[in-house]
Structures are given as C-alpha cells and as structure tokens.
C-alpha cells in the first residue's frame, strides 16, 4: 500500500468540473478544495507506486487540471493498530 498527498492545479473557472471528475476517480481517497484558488489537495491510495504515477497521469486528463505535483508519499503502509 502506498499513500500519497498531491496538489492539483486547476483552472479556477473549471474547478467545479475538475472536482467532479476527480471525485469519481478510483484511487483518490480524499479530495479537498479548492484549498486556495485553483488548487486542490488529494490523498491517493494505491497498491504500489506505479499505480500512483498512473493516477497522476490520469488526473491530467480531467477537465481543467493543468498540473499535478506530489507533496508527500509513504511506502509500505501496513494495516496495524497504534495506541
């Protein structure tokens, strides 16, 4: 399991359309935005790193999306409890 935090730059006048398209995209577990004008934040969860890059590329096809940049990635996440 890989978890990544990414910033998505979108055209402001297409932010709603971009959000709608991204919300339905498998692999995006959380989507917030616009957190600043034209910027969305998302958490991606994927089986492996290749799926993360696939997803980043696929996000570029959503309407209004002009750029996807990662801010955080964590590899080898395993389910475990923490107290």
């Amino acid at each position: 399991m890989v978890i990544a935090g990414v910033v998505i730059d979108v055209k402001t006048d297409q932010a709603v359309a971009a959000m709608a398209a991204l919300e339905g995209m498998p692999g995006i577990s959380r989507l917030e935005g616009p957190v600043t004008p034209g910027r969305l934040a998302a958490v991606l969860e994927a089986e492996n790193e290749a799926e993360v890059t696939d997803l980043c590329t696929r996000m570029l096809t959503a309407p209004g999306v002009v750029n996807v940049n990662p801010a955080f990635i964590h590899f080898d996440v395993e389910e475990e409890s923490r107290v």
């Binding site: 978890i3 935090g5 940049n69 990662p70 955080f72 990635i73 964590h74």
Partner: protein, 755 residues
C-alpha cells in the same frame, strides 16, 4: 487514549502535507493527536532535489539505513512542500540492481573489479605519465552541474592550480553557457538579478524556449497558482512546439523553428516606435552597443527600423498583431513582467545574442530590478550555477566569476589555493566541443569525467565516442552508462544523501544537503576520490588541510568575499533553507534582488540601481542582427529536429531509468511528428521511422498527437533514449555559439522516413 490505525495517521499526514504545499493553513485540518513523522519510525533529513535547477527542498526519510520515503520540505521557500513526480521517487533511483559498488579497471578490453588502491594508483600514474610526456594540456576534466560545489572546487584547484592545465569543463556548457555569456555581456556579471520571489509579483509571464510544465513543474505551479488567484495575470508562451504550457497560456507565439531572433527584434521595434521606452531608466542605467562600438538611441532605432512586426511575421509565421500585443504588454505602465527561458534559447549558435535580446526588452521598458520584473534564465541541473558557474569550473573561469585571462584574478586565486600563481596558465583551456575534438585528434590523452555522461549527451555523439575510446578515460559514476562503457577506469561514487555538500540553484540560492545514509559497497564521495587522486599525483600538500566539506567550502568562501557573490560559512547553510547570495554582514539573510539598494549591499542608497559589473555601472542594450540556425532545411533534409525531455525522465536516464514507476509512464523515447506531416507521409503513432541528418541516422518510434505537437516541418524527439544505436544525439548538430561555445542541440536539419 485514542486508537487510530497507522494508515489513518499517514493519510492525515499526507493530506496535511498536500494542503500545506497548496498554500493552505493546515492547523485546523490536522487530526488531533496526529503523530510527527519521526514517530512513524523514519528519520527525516533535509536535502535538495537531485534533478533540475529549481532546487526544491526535499525531506529524505530513512529507516534502518535505507531511504524509505520522500516528502517536499514545507519550510523550503523554493517549493513550499511541492515536488514533481521525479522527486517523488528520488529514493528509488539509488537502489538499482546494477549500482556500481567497486572500482573497475579495463583489462583485456573488459572492465574487471579492482581495489581502490589499484584503481587510484593507475589513474595517478597514468595522468602523471601523460603530463610528463605530452604536457599538462594533454589532460582534461569534464565535470557536472550535479556535483556538489566542493567537488568542482577541488577539481578546479587540482587541474588549474596544480597540474597546470585549464582544460576544465562542465556539462553546463551544454545547457546554460549562453545564459552566462548573455548576462555577462549585458550586465558585466553572470547570473540573474531576480529570484523566484518575482514570480509571485508578476502581472505577465513571457516564457520563450522553455516547457516549464514538464521541465520545471514546481515553478510552473507557482505561475498557475498566481494566475488562478489573479485573473488579470497573463501567460505568454513563445515556442515552435505546442506543449503542456499552452493549456494554460493566454497568448501563444508559435514561431517557425530558429526564427525567434526576429520576434525579439520586432518587439523591440514596437517598444521603440510606440514610445514605450522608459527613457529615464535607460538614460540613467543603460548604454547602447552594436557589439563592437557604442551607439546612440537614434542609431538603435535606425537599426531596428526595418525589423517591423510585419517583417517578423514573414520570417516567423507569427501574426504581426500578436507580436505588437506582447511588445505592448512589456511596455505597459504599472505592470510587471518576468521573462523565462532555457534550452530553446541557450542551445543555439546565436544563444548569447538571443539572451541579450531578451534583456533588451526589460532594459528598454525599465521592467527590471523591481519586484515582479526581471529577465530570468531557468536552469536544468541542480547545481549548474553553484558548482560550475560560481565555482568557476569552466575552461575560461576561476572561482567567484573570476576569469583566467585576468592576472589579478589568477593571483588572488593562487594565493588562497596556496599555489604559485605561475601554475595557473594565463590562457583559456579548451571549451567543451574543442576538448572532445582533442580526444578525437589525440591531443588530449587523459580525461577524468565526473558525474556526467558525455557518451550519451554530446551532440554528434558518435564522433566523440570514438575520441573517448582513444583516451585514457576515468569516470566516476553510480551506474554503468554510455560513458563508463568507454572508460579505462570506473570509480564507484556516492550520490545525493549518501554524502553531504552544497548545491546552488537558479535563483542564487545556496543550499546544503545533509548526509542521511552510507553509500553502498565501496562507493565513495567524489570529494574523497579527488583528494586521493591529488595525493597520489604528488599534490597532497595542497589538499591535506581539507578534513571536511566545511573546510573546502570555507576556503572557497574566502574567494567570494567582496565580489558581490559573497557566500556564508558552511554552518549557516547547514542550518538554513538556503541563502541567496550575496550574503554579507549587511544582508545576513541573503539578497532578493541584485544591483538594487538596499537589497544588494554593493549598491548605495544614492546610487539606487547600479550594474556594477560594468565600469560605468550601466547595462548594455545590444543591436543584434537577425540570424537563423547553423543548418538550414533543404530538399535533402527538409525537417528541423529539436530535442527535449518529458516530466518523468531526466537527461540520460541513468537515474530515472532505474525507477520502474517512471519508466512505465514513458517507456519509449519517440519522435513527435506534426499531424499534417504524418498524414502526408502515412506515419502513425508507433511506426518506426528513420531520422537522418548529415551526421548519422537512428530508427525510433513516431508519436503523432501526444503530449506535444511540433508545427509542420518540425520534429521533436526525447533524447533520453539510451540504446547505443538509437542515441538521438547521433543526429544532433555540434555547431556552437562563437561566444558561449554552447552547441546547437535544438536545430538539426533532418529527413524522416517510415521504415
């Protein structure tokens, strides 16, 4: 006590990091009792990205002696936590199966393992024999904008100060030498006056010959961010190929390949003839020159008179009205404009002239030396500025922008190096292409290549590969490359956070990378390798005082003081998220804008603005005649080929090619063909095509309608390809700019055939 699953914690941290990087306060979004990353078991170490010249701050997460993750450094003002996809996978490039971990020596035409003593003794003995028999100029060093500054500094001292040859070059000669020459001609000193801060204050961006969306994505994000928040902000993109920036651009200037000089002169024509010149600024701070002699404003106006927008339209194909519109935006009162450019301008036989033509637009309109207005050269490597331009690791330079031709400069450097000033020859060494021509001619017989891959990256590469084969070639590297296969000795090097050191990015920001892990096997930092070679060649007395990187840096720093490129002590960089030089007592936090008081400590309040690189403190507006490429298209070679790269890969893919996730994104390195041209020739995506120039031919896949589209009559190829018979540089042109000596990678006349 609250029970949360680890996955929830990491998800929360991921979202918090993304929101912080997006510019949003995260305090209210952070989950209560969220752990600090260190509590997840990883240790986070401050570093700088290993790839392009933006200089993004990176936190490297290590656990059990291995890198386990990477995140953007939210405290670093360069990227504020953002990264591009390459940096996302930084930790993975280091763990390729074929990592070099032991020295190799060529025996019976095969590279075989050796001890460090065997390898280093062989290097030192052979270099000494060559110098004794053929003179010191039979030796050469070819370094990199990816070494840390301390490494380039040592190599410079060893070759220029001890061995006695100025044959020291670096691969920034192939990417930014024209920017160096341009800044130096216009302002008397290299490197930009502005910084990334200007991006956040600009009203207009003029980007020419650069694809920031793929090559400088984090800076491009800064542009889109500002555009989104400010509807009046406009992006102008001038490029012969349509690419991802055009999705965001407000105005496009799709000029015919190699004709941008005409656009820039026509814009100057409009500025001059429509009274958009800031006469007060120009009279106080500028001179005019035809390149040889001074000229007046009237002379300059006459020079430009025939270069109207309509004239330029005929040459470039860009509508005259669009050229006028952009020129008027430059001249618009109260609006700030930042120009940015990179290889499309620099990798040209008229690269120096083009750089000065861009400067002209800013000087004429006074859109310079004020927040949000500056000409800004983007760079392609993480420390091309810090480790080569500033350290002076080129064949005509000495540290801190000094030049070999100046006797005072040689004496100043010799004194700090502790060598006799006579050791430093007064004549320049061989610039890049002449240096490698000398390997072909057999006059250079021994060469040390450090952290770069000329066997892949030189233009007209097959010619120079033959030269390298004839030379006693020593290569320090982390993986087998197209250069190590030609080497006589290969020395396994440490990389990135396996060592510490200093990088200098495109905005004069000097940053420290901390060591986080040990290098694998017997790999060693290049500092260690250089010190060992120096010692074994008999120059140990000049190097024995260096016990740490800080020792080397602090000696180098002495040479920067008072030059306007003043650096801080090493410990300051260890603590800071970079400092932009000059760093002085007056400006302990660095300088945001050069040549302007009070930001620049070398300029007084009375002077206000002073281009102190010039004797009279005035910058120069140059009259540049229109000139096309070195090689024009012809019936035999009817297409212009340009080369470039994609977001996911970097240069010769020695690193990104080892990251499966990146390789998967772009698995083949194709040539883009314009849709109309493809239709005429019956070429479809995936078809194999032969690209032939006067220098050679390659067969590679075609791509029609991909990420970019060259205009009709133009091809664009991804030069990452590393198969030896498909190296795109087999066909590129090795003609150079006569001033900067930078090759014209961007324009080769070729033909294309479906095979």
């Amino acid at each position: 006590m609250i029970e949360l699953k680890r996955r929830d914690f990491i998800t929360a941290v991921a979202m918090a990091s993304a929101m912080a990087a997006a510019g949003c306060s995260t305090e209210s979004k952070k989950p209560k009792n969220a752990p600090k990353p260190e509590l997840e078991g990883a240790t986070w170490t401050k570093g700088v990205c290993r790839y392009c010249g933006v200089g993004c701050g990176v936190m490297a997460g290590t656990k059990d002696g291995k890198l386990v993750g990477v995140k953007g450094d939210e405290q670093n003002p360069v990227n504020k936590g953002l990264l591009c996809v390459k940096a996302f996978f930084l930790h993975k490039y280091m763990y390729g199966q074929d990592r070099l971990t032991t020295p190799l020596i060529r025996k019976d035409d095969k590279l075989v393992p050796a001890t460090w003593d065997e390898a280093l003794d062989l290097v030192a003995k052979t270099f000494k024999e060559i110098a004794a028999k053929d003179g010191p100029d039979a030796l050469a060093f070819y370094g990199s904008g990816q070494t840390v500054a301390e490494e380039s500094y040592l190599a410079n001292k060893l070759y220029k100060g001890c061995i006695g040859t100025n044959n020291v070059e670096g691969n920034p000669r192939t990417c930014m030498a024209s920017a160096v020459a341009g800044y130096t001609q216009t302002f008397g000193k290299d490197e930009p006056m502005g910084t990334y801060d200007d991006l956040d204050k600009a009203d207009y961006y003029f980007v020419i010959g650069a694809n920031m969306a793929e090559c400088h994505p984090v800076l491009f994000s800064r542009i889109t961010d500002r555009k989104n928040a400010n509807p009046g902000v406009k992006l102008i993109v001038a490029d012969p190929r349509r690419h991802r920036m055009h999705d965001t651009a407000d105005i496009s200037l799709p000029f015919k390949p190699g004709t941008d000089s005409a656009i820039l002169n026509a814009m100057a024509n409009v500025i001059v003839n429509e009274n958009l010149v800031d006469a007060d600024f120009v009279s106080k701070h500028c001179n005019y020159s035809d390149g040889t002699n001074p000229m007046s404003f009237e002379d300059f106006r006459k020079f430009l008179a025939p270069m109207t927008p309509e004239w330029a339209e005929g040459i470039t194909g860009v509508k005259a009205d669009v050229i006028k519109q952009v020129a008027r935006m430059f001249g618009e009162k109260g609006k700030n404009i930042v120009s940015m450019w990179t290889m499309g301008i620099n990798q040209r036989v008229i690269g120096t002239a083009l750089n000065t033509q861009i400067h002209n637009l800013h000087l004429l309109t006074g859109k310079i030396c004020k927040p949000g207005s500056t000409p800004f050269s983007l760079t392609g490597q993480p420390s091309a500025c810090g480790s080569v331009r500033e350290v002076g690791a080129l064949s005509h330079l000495l540290p801190a922008h000094r030049v070999i031709a100046n006797a005072d400069h040689r004496a100043q450097v010799a004194k700090v190096w502790g060598v006799d000033a006579k050791n430093i020859k007064p004549t320049n060494g061989l610039p890049l292409m002449k240096m490698f021509q000398a390997t072909v001619d057999g006059t250079i017989k021994g060469m040390l290549v450090m952290c770069t891959n000329p066997g892949h990256s030189l233009p007209n590469v097959n010619k120079y590969r033959e030269g390298m084969k004839k030379t006693f070639l020593v290569v320090t590297e982390i993986y087998p490359t197209r250069t190590t296969e030609l080497a006589d000795v290969v020395l396994p090097a440490a990389t990135w956070v396996e060592k510490e050191g200093i990088f200098g990015n495109a905005e004069r920001r000097t940053q420290h990378i901390a060591k986080a892990i040990d290098p694998p096997g017997q790999a060693k930092p290049d500092v260690w390798i250089l010190l060992e070679i120096a010692k074994r060649m008999g120059y140990g007395q000049y190097f024995e005082k260096y016990k740490t990187n800080a020792d080397i840096w602090n000696e180098y720093r002495e040479l920067t003081l008072g030059t306007g490129m003043d650096m801080a002590t090493y410990d300051k960089y260890v603590a800071a998220r970079g400092l932009r030089w000059p760093v002085t007592d007056k400006t302990p936090d660095g300088t945001s804008m050069r040549y302007v008081a009070p930001s620049d400590p070398k300029v007084t309040a009375e002077e206000g603005i002073k281009f102190y690189g010039k004797p009279d403190g005035k910058a120069v507006i140059f009259a540049r005649q229109y000139k096309g490429p070195a090689e024009e298209v012809s019936p035999d070679y009817p297409f212009y080929l340009s080369t470039g790269r994609v977001l996911e890969h970097w240069h010769t893919i020695t690193m990104t090619g080892r990251v499966p996730e990146l390789k998967k994104q772009v698995e083949e390195f194709y040539v883009e063909v314009n849709k109309q041209d493809a239709q005429k020739m019956g070429i479809k995506s995936g078809d194999k095509v032969r690209i032939t120039s006067r220098r050679g031919a390659i067969v590679i896949p075609a791509r029609v309608g991909g990420r970019g589209e060259p205009q009709p009559g133009m091809l664009f190829s991804l030069w990452h390809e590393d198969a030896v018979d498909k190296l795109h540089n087999i066909v590129t042109n090795d003609a150079v700019d006569p001033i900067s000596a930078q090759p014209e990678y961007k324009l080769a006349a070729v033909k294309i055939e479906k095979v």
